[in-house]
Symmetry: C2
Subunit: 434 residues, 2 copies
């Protein structure tokens, strides 16, 4: 706190999120001061891009292109990092925390890769590092995991935490679009980047899952620990067939903890319509947490965008400011010391959906069912779909009872070698966890 009793904030990065956060701090001074018990004052805002500084519309005396003006400024008590990516965000936050400044960040990549180190550094310096906005935009999820649900042993997380891919799969499902068309529409609508790899290949939700799982299971989960499969292989007819079976297809991020063994995975999944996650559409996100006491609780809202993200960032800033006003000592931050092992993906047991193109003649099913039977995979349903008489092929949809990933992968690998099987079009996991 400054001598005048105010709390100074510096913002790093003036993209759409940073500009919105700055605007809330400037526009809502009265509301925030009332909630904190002291004025919360924006002192500096930095971006290396002078065009962004101008576009921000912020008063000129607050602006700078030199991040050192923020992280070293004696007028700044709380540094808000909204640059994204590991560099230079990591160095800037390290400097700020080392100088006894509190920090707020929305940076999922950085928190997934260096979160525990940064949190430890904050603790050593008696300051806070809050990161609510790094997962689920404005949805309160980090706070509830750190506080409200603390009495629970958390057993699982099932989440839709990437708005871009959820927009795409919702479009494919509702409008029968193929992946490329849906992606182009998402790009045109501003919901996907021109290079969409980070989203559609599941890197972004893997970062977020690593953050949530670290917090929920009190251990150190790295993004590399998360099995990852994107959505680009999904076909329009998969949505249609899944629908007929009573399922939506969603890109799920799943973390489970059984006796200190974690399974961590991001992949498309069939989700039964009875489950609320099947109803999470468009750019919305939802996170379901299961705990031994609370059972399943679900949090739903807008997972991205300047306004929702600023809700979380300013919320964290207010929380820190209130702590400064009440002169609270350092609260124990997350504990990431639990020793766990990561279960290899081959050992996963779940149900599966597969779509195959096969020769349209008698005896084909016998070939296929033999492969599955020999590997002890129990079939739940097998349905012949559209036949194409011109090339004499038919589409077959198979669903299995719970089976082991290793056996299922082997089975469909073997099937690709069978003469009558023209193609294994899709192999998608079916999640029936409720």
């Amino acid at each position: 706190m400054r001598e005048d009793g105010s709390i100074g904030v510096g913002v790093l990065g003036l993209g759409v999120i940073g500009s919105q956060v700055a605007r809330v701090l400037l526009d809502q001074t009265e509301r925030l001061a009332h909630q904190v018990g002291a004025p919360v004052v924006l002192r500096r805002a930095v971006d290396i891009d002078t065009a962004k500084l101008q576009a921000s519309g912020l008063p000129g005396h607050l602006l700078t292109t030199d991040a050192a003006d923020v992280v070293n400024s004696p007028e700044v008590d709380v540094v808000v990092e909204l640059i994204g990516g590991v560099h230079p965000a990591m160095d800037l936050l390290t400097t700020a925390l080392s100088q006894g400044k509190h920090a707020v960040t929305a940076n999922k990549e950085l928190m997934a890769k260096q979160g525990p180190e940064l949190i430890e550094l904050a603790e050593q310096n008696g300051v806070h590092l809050l990161y609510e906005a790094s997962v689920g935009g404005g949805i309160p999820i980090i706070g509830p995991l750190k506080k409200d649900l603390l009495a629970n042993e958390i057993t699982s997380i099932y989440a839709i935490i990437n708005g871009t891919t959820n927009y795409i799969v919702t479009k494919m499902s509702r409008e029968g679009l193929d992946f490329d068309s849906a992606l182009r529409q998402a790009q045109a609508a501003g919901f996907a980047e021109s290079d969409p790899t980070n989203d559609i290949e599941g890197f972004d939700p893997a970062y977020k899952l690593a953050i949530l799982a670290s917090l929920a299971f009190h251990t150190r989960v790295r993004a590399e620990d998360v099995y990852r499969e994107g959505i680009s292989r999904l076909a329009p007819q998969d949505f249609q067939y899944a629908d007929e079976l009573g399922y939506a297809i969603k890109l799920l991020a799943i973390a489970r903890c059984d006796d200190d063994v974690l399974s961590l995975r991001v992949h498309p999944a069939l989700v039964p319509y009875e489950h609320l996650l099947a109803r999470v559409d468009g750019v919305f996100n939802a996170i379901e947490i299961e705990g031994d006491l609370v059972g399943q609780v679900l949090f739903h809202g807008q997972g991205a965008g300047p306004l929702p993200t600023s809700s979380a960032v300013v919320g964290d800033t207010v929380e820190i400011a209130r702590g400064i006003v009440s002169r609270s000592g350092s609260v124990r931050p997350g504990n990431f010391s639990r020793e766990v092992s990561i279960s290899p993906m081959e050992e996963l047991t779940t149900s599966y959906y597969a779509r195959l193109t096969v020769a349209d003649h008698a005896g084909v099913l016998a070939n296929i069912t033999k492969v599955l039977g020999d590997l002890s995979i129990s079939i739940a349903s097998i349905i012949q779909k559209n036949a194409d008489p011109t090339v004499r092929t038919a589409e077959i949809v198979i669903t299995t009872h719970p089976a082991q990933e290793r056996a299922v992968q082997e089975a469909f690998h073997q099937m690709e070698q069978i003469d009558v099987v023209k193609e294994v079009g899709s192999l998608i996991r079916v999640e029936n966890w409720s």
Copy 2:
């Protein structure tokens, strides 16, 4: 904190919730100590009913029938009130807070009626009063409103916050039961009390809405400010007709704030299936909060029961214990000083669904539509349902465009006077807020 560095807890009331909370405190000592940074020790548990003391299975030296042993004990730092009702809970909490003890309560009636006074008393004594379990069982909602969503101007709350009535309407909807049969099944399943008035007439959700609205709008909302209508007049065919129109029927608790004018109401409502609240079934609860930054966020989970409630109660206890360990000063509690006015129910504008029994002959619709037209109520749809040829009556379902409550009540009052209208069976509000 005691001299030995531990934090002492006393539990008032050993019903199913109190016993469960005591059990968590006893069974999870290691987990809780780790999270708090100090042992959290159950020191006393009280109930005036000795049978409950015995049934609790707690060690005898902790038990007492005298609440003064808890609220006056120098060994108790945190008093957990799970008696319910206003008396003697109010006196006991007043004593505890006045003596500098922190408190946790799950008591919605007390918090709705005396919450702001108790919170102020806590503040005067430099202690905390937390009440996460008073609304939504284990669902984190008080915490997010007090902290995570603090940067927002909250504009509305739409909630399903009574498990008993949601169980009943779910049964009526799925199984075509009438209200009495569904209520009996709820009682048999242990989800409704033998005197169910508090739930089915909406007192319980009105208490909870008063608590949420006070916090969200920073003002003092009393349960009496909430318009209240129960579910006992709902008929099985209302669920069927609503379904045909694309709606579920739910007992909603609604609070809206427009320019310092609040509207507060608990009543059955048609909820469009596209909205997640329409999918909240059985004893589950859900609360949707809308804020200027975050947009709509929804929290879903089990709204009652010993395990979920203990998640919230122990969560609050841990939060207080962490505050004691970090020696944090008093954080500004909720602010309830905003001056607002309460909008009278007659001034509500919404859409309506009505089911009428009418004489089954030509010209009847002309009579009905004239009444609506004269009061400037615009009809969205009018559908003739089952006719009963033996008594020559038919059922008619009318839905309106948004209209004012005053005019609609007047219209259906007038209709009851028309000869050809045998009965206005149902008049239910239709909520299309998304």
